[in-house]
């Protein structure tokens, strides 16, 4: 049984972190070019209280990530990171791009809280969607996106920050791990998706 030796060997590369002492966890690896995320049948509710599934975004390039509304540091940085990626995109592509942010914390992040958050960040309403779902689906999506998270006793959520690019079919096409990281690769891949 050598699995645990492998485990120890693999620990180092998994340690990628966000800045600012925010509770963070390393992300895990995710293969690109695999299956579509749209095979997942989890039920979500958007910031307007409308029921949706992820497959709704089929046909468009998507940046998807996870956050929670009461998050003090990393999550606002996540929004600014997405805006930074957007700002470097070809305008025609940007018009198509969908941003999907799913909360870790469906208990506190009601549709109303999500709607307020969207207003707070002054984002384009037809392209930015804030979603909540049940705790089991949160775990499932986090596992698919290689995002690790845990609730801490003080009510915060330690989590890895990962922005994942989905192609028009919903397959993972690229990722940015950590906050304020270079996004050249994902910008290049996005621009290449221009029709």
């Amino acid at each position: 049984m050598r699995s645990w030796l492998l485990a120890i060997a693999l620990l180092a590369p998994t340690a990628a972190f966000a800045a600012d002492g925010h509770p963070t966890l390393p992300a895990s690896k995710v293969e690109t070019g695999g299956d579509s995320l749209y095979v997942l049948d989890g039920k979500y509710t958007d910031q307007d209280g409308k029921a949706v599934t992820l497959a709704k975004f089929r046909g468009k390039p998507v940046l998807i990530s996870m956050f929670y509304a009461t998050c003090p540091h990393a999550c606002p940085m996540l929004v600014s990171d997405v805006k930074r990626i957007e700002s470097e995109l070809d305008p025609a592509l940007r018009k198509e791009l969908q941003i999907v942010l799913v909360t870790f914390d469906p208990d506190r992040d009601t549709p109303d809280a999500l709607s307020k958050l969207r207003d707070l960040h002054k984002v384009e309403k037809d392209r930015w969607t804030f979603l909540r779902t049940d705790p089991g689906t949160v775990r499932e999506l986090a596992a698919v996106l290689g995002i690790r998270y845990r609730f801490t006793p003080d009510g915060a959520i330690g989590h890895s920050s990962v922005i994942t690019l989905l192609d028009r079919d919903g397959a993972v096409a690229g990722r940015v791990e950590g906050v304020r990281q270079p996004a050249d690769d994902i910008v290049r891949k996005l621009n290449a998706m221009k029709k």
Binding site: M1, S3, W4, L5, L6, A7, I8, L10, L11, T14, A15, F17, A18, D20, G21, H22, P23, T24, L25, P26, S28, K29, V30, E31, G34, D35, S36, L37, V39, L40, G136, R139, E140, A143, V144, G146, R148, Y149, R150, T152, P153, D154, A156, G158
Partner: protein, 275 residues
Amino acid sequence: MIERAAIAACCALACALSAPAVSMAAEAGPAPAASRAAGKKAGGMVAVGAGNHLPVYPPSPEEAVIPMKAFEIDRLPVTNGDYLAFVTKNPKWRRGQVPRLLADARYLQHWKGPLELGPDADPDAPVTRVSWFAAKAYCEAQGKHLPTENEWEYAAAASETSPDGRSDPAFTARLLGWYSRPTPKVLPKVGQGAPNHWGAQDMHGLVWEWVLDFGSTMVSSDSREDGDPDKMRFCGASAINAGDKEDYAAFMRYAFRSSLQGPYTVGNLGFRCAR
């Protein structure tokens, strides 16, 4: 700086010495637990009483003692036979039907066919080569859930005679003895290990087991720890405060889990459910 150097040394030493340490423990360890009558099916759960869980690697000082409510856990790991019944009923979880996103290419590879166990998968042996997604779906289909890491570790800390056997050198040496032995090609039947204090069997000595929040508790997430999140919990500052520095078996379990990804399937990684 001294602390950081000490941490690095601790980490390097622990990682470098783990293998020989395990072999030595295996040689010195007692004979395996006496065989008990094999459970035919993994049906049946045992009650795990409320109490305080003392994680070996608390993720933060506030979590050194975790009050646990009473819960139930499967007495035995889920078997090939149990899992065959599940995939028979749920075609989307059959080998060949499951998207790679949810299970890698080795999913149930040792079964003869999608609905046939064959010679390498005894119906009473624990099912392995199942992904976290598959294990989670199985438990949910039974109205249960995959145990959380705390639930699993709390239930598994029990020896045959005590709810927490971790301070018993014979108990921990026996666990390490298993970790040092290679996994046989065909796994033995479940139910041959001695029941622990709660009545659960084979929590050690047969297969590793998935937990719901695998890999998420490895790292300190206490933002007050001077903002250096690079302190991995088991090789970092909190390892110095670890509940039991002798518990290499738990060290390996936490390390193994943290290396997993949801779609991974491994020949000696199975699961059981809780509720």
